[in-house]
Symmetry: C2
Amino acid sequence: MTHSHALSIGNYIIFAFMSISRRNFLKTSTFSTATLASIPAIITSCIKPDVNAGGIIDSNNVLLFQGDSITDAGRDKEHELANNAGSFGNGYAYIIASNLLRKYPGKNLALYNRGISGNKVYQLAERWEKDCLELKPDILSILIGVNDYWHMRNGRYEGTPEIYENDYRRLLERTKNQLPEIQLIICQPFILKNTTAVDESWIEPFEAYQDIARKLSLEFNAIWIPFQEVFNEAANHTPENYWLPDGVHPSMAGAQLMAEAWLESIG
Amino acid sequence: MTHSHALSIGNYIIFAFMSISRRNFLKTSTFSTATLASIPAIITSCIKPDVNAGGIIDSNNVLLFQGDSITDAGRDKEHELANNAGSFGNGYAYIIASNLLRKYPGKNLALYNRGISGNKVYQLAERWEKDCLELKPDILSILIGVNDYWHMRNGRYEGTPEIYENDYRRLLERTKNQLPEIQLIICQPFILKNTTAVDESWIEPFEAYQDIARKLSLEFNAIWIPFQEVFNEAANHTPENYWLPDGVHPSMAGAQLMAEAWLESIG
């Protein structure tokens, strides 16, 4: 990883807050004051302040979550409704969406989850017209990449980092061409070793994918959610399988951790 | 309702905080500082400070959520696992449990959801051995009552407030007899009128059930979660169907509102 985040631990994990100024952070945080009081530093190295300082959620926004099984989280794919619990499954996207809908009852938000288990970038592209462009999202949050590596690793997919990069860049270009005003949120794909599916041998090759996602977030002026650093820091204090039992899929605690990091990052 | 709660609105809804002292509230809240700054009063009329001040979650605790469809929230009933997203469904119990597991990674908590859609008190009693007593919960959160009224109202059940009271008291006595150290959390059943299923004619007869739940919470030294007041206040600012589309079942925003109220109430 090319970026590091200073994190501090109180009773529980505290995130690096990236582009949010301390003043804005104090205004918008959902953390406890105990946590606030112990923040040692606001890390600004990873996100451009002009992109997400002060919050990005406007009235009448459509916000779409896209990705693989981590986003899917068992959602009902027969009824793909906005702002609907069944259509959101029970993962980080559900927690985020519930939080936003509670926080902004007057904003008339339309929130969708269209993650599908097992997806790699090319599979997002295959369903992009129906599952992204037709929804005309104002804000698009994407978490994709672990299967691009994992399915190659276990022989189910002939992928490479270059294919991941080219497919992902084309997907983002296509999105920006059709929806020039869209705010992109690119989530760092993540893994943790010492788990049932992931060991040390994953770390270095997977970093190539993570670095590509980071590079694309800069190219496309996206908000970057540094999930790997968040999970690394969590695993410094509680064993990896508490957060990601198989090293890839979050536990309930892991999903909550993701949701809090995402909500902090968007301001 | 015999109890009222002063609530204040900033950018979003602020709860009545009942027994939590301002100092403890500031220490434990997950609300933003913006919200904190505008709290006009801490309401202490409804919960006994000695019961829940300072938090009730200890290491190795088993926490069980019980109730009807609002608690069930589409959970997987084939695999009734602790701390498992599928086994929690996607409602207020999932949000609460995810939050607690993230907040207390070192406490080795075991959290269960055993709510079942359509249940009335006597149906909890029928499955109480397996779905409560065998789990030996240290903390039991119960939300039950709307079907005891609703199913009587629509002719599917011959219930009365007296039957609700007697059944509920017997269930709690049985629980306390078998698990004398248990901490009970009794959630106020709630409805909102001007919705697809609930109109003004529900309010007065349903208050009899709510008053019984409140009375039992005092008898059994339970923590009381005043959901009706929380939803009433929410509906003062955003239409009822935003929180409870049919007047009974919460939206995602409503589930989040419940989770925040519950988490604040337990300290």
